[in-house]
Amino acid sequence: MASGEEELPLPSKRKIAIVSLAALLGAATILVTVVLPAEYGVDPLGTGAKLGLLAMSRPSQNESITLPPGGTEFTPVERGAAAYYGAEYKVDTTELVLDAYEYVEYKYHLEKGASMLFAWTANSTVMHDFHGAPDTDPKNGEASFDKRDASQANGSFVAPFTGIHGWYWENPGGERIVIKVTSAGFYNAAMEFRSNGTRKSHELMPLNAIASGAK
């Protein structure tokens, strides 16, 4: 050390301990009052709510889904393995009765790429064709996805084109057949077409119908 320079006295151990403790308390206070509410939504003292910090911990509510050109709220927007929609999915359940030789088509309208889950059972074997027809060419663009005699099926489906997709069931002749269908999906309409020429739209249930047990 050069001559003439003054040595600064070191703080005492007691002083170091006091300052450290104060710093620790200050950090803990900031953690509990600011950081936990803002980052994790944990607000034990209510300061996050008072300071408006809780919103920072929630995912953005205003993030919009960019639809492709011509898309609707039922058009999926893919992000990696997931697909997002602008609307909630719908649920549907119905019972269809077929006397001898009668047929019915029950279909949903889905945008291309939209998905649905389905399950149907019949009390006897029916002639069955799971197929779809595109909006752009309903008569000539039909595609059959599964055509066979069956008495039940459970599955998932992703629409290869925008159009109506569903089932043709026919009673091959004999006793009355009852078919029960249940589904959930990003469809926006359900229609029934009968062999006697009648057509009927079915009302779809919103998501909260599951919780409320409504039919």
Binding site: D99, A100, Y101, E102, G173, S195, G197
Partner: protein, 106 residues
Amino acid sequence: MKAVTTLLASALLMFCAAELSAHDQFRIIGTLTKAQPTSLEVRTKEGKTVAIEVNKETLVTRDRKKVEFGELKTGGSVVVDALGDTFDDLVALEVRIVPPIATPGN
């Protein structure tokens, strides 16, 4: 003049084609009450009698095999697939002769 005629004929043909393609398909199931070379009458389970036109393209079958029109007997059960706009203007595509159809239970 020839060009105008051709144009008008084409427009008429396109209109007719559009009308034909707009016909719906119907199935009439029931008891044959009348069978004539140009028309049939079928009484459905609802008690309604439906008149259906028959033409040379109409197919008559039994057990998936083509049979003569004369095989159709009044009182027999039939399944008729027909085209038309309503139940009042149907043309039969195929008439299937089937076993007696049981009355559906409640």
